[in-house]
């Protein structure tokens, strides 16, 4: 059920990217897709009743192995979030440049102005 709901979120982002005309809306759709994928990766690694993958001195190894959630998706998603911010900054700067060149955010108008 959780997987399906995060897939629905991904599809909403895809719908926003595919059908909207405004560049800012397209950037927002990309952002929503990124959230959905990060959340899906973390959902895969969750263990019911688990604990965070951080050792404390008074925790035995057997208890830690038994209850800790999967640390590998977490390590990958940390880099993914920062890369997502880089992509967002690049796309926003492209949007500003397009606005300066054409005076609009509408991609149909941009196509028409190009001739």
């Amino acid at each position: 059920m959780e997987y399906i709901l995060s897939f629905v979120l991904l599809m909403i982002g895809l719908y926003c990217v595919a059908t909207k005309k405004n560049i800012v809306k397209i950037v927002i759709g990309l952002n929503i897709m990124e959230y959905a994928i990060n959340l899906f990766l973390i959902l895969i690694g969750y263990r019911r009743g688990g604990i965070a993958p951080i050792r404390t001195p008074d925790m035995s190894l057997a208890y830690f192995l038994r209850y800790s959630v999967d640390p590998l998706p977490q390590a990958l998603v940390v880099t993914s979030i920062v890369i997502g911010f880089g992509v967002l900054a690049l796309s926003v700067s492209m949007a500003i440049r397009i606005y300066e060149r054409y005076g609009t955010f509408d991609i149909n108008e941009i196509k028409r102005l190009k001739g």
Binding site: I54, G86, A89, S93, I96, E100
Partner: protein, 164 residues
């Protein structure tokens, strides 16, 4: 500092109180990244966030006086070089690239100076991420599209305090 630029005086006073604590929290997140939740990425973003807060509250000139864009790009490169240097030192002292070559005694577990090269790599990553994100934000915020009277748009940039 001119009174016209930035937001109202309440925001300025609260920002002046709070910005040191936010910077300290970012440093804590970076330094204790191998013992508690956190690490170089969120800590670096928090450190960049203090400068973003200064930019929003006081206008563009105040953070650029403390950290101009040339210095920020130099810090960025410094962080990257330290990180790569740590990885190459693993090749030199150890056996493979990016090896954790410092000794890891069991008596040092859960202490600040443990985990070999991880705290130093965390510091380098924090420096790099903080400087990069500050640069991105400054580039995005000094650019401004103004409408000319004849209906055209023109993009202008304010100076970013770059050294000549």
């Amino acid at each position: 500092m001119s009174e016209k630029e930035g937001l109202s005086v309440i925001v300025k006073v609260v920002t002046r109180w709070i910005v040191g604590f936010v910077l300290l929290f970012g440093l804590y997140i970076v330094i204790f990244g191998h013992l508690t939740p956190g690490g170089g990425f969120p800590g670096g973003v928090i450190i960049a966030g203090t400068f973003v807060l200064l930019t929003l509250a006081f206008g563009k000139d105040t953070p650029l006086r403390k950290l101009n864009s040339t210095l920020a790009s130099e810090l960025d490169s410094t962080g990257a070089i330290i990180f790569l240097g740590i990885a190459l030192l693993g090749l030199y002292f150890g056996s493979f690239f990016a090896e954790n070559f410092l000794t890891k005694l069991p008596s040092s577990y859960f202490k600040l100076f443990s985990a070999g090269v991880i705290p130093w790599a965390n510091l380098a990553i924090g420096l790099k991420v903080g400087a990069s994100i500050f640069m991105v934000f400054i580039i995005l915020s000094v650019t401004r599209v103004v409408g000319l009277p004849n209906g055209e748009k023109k993009m202008t940039r304010k100076p970013t305090g770059r050294r000549k």
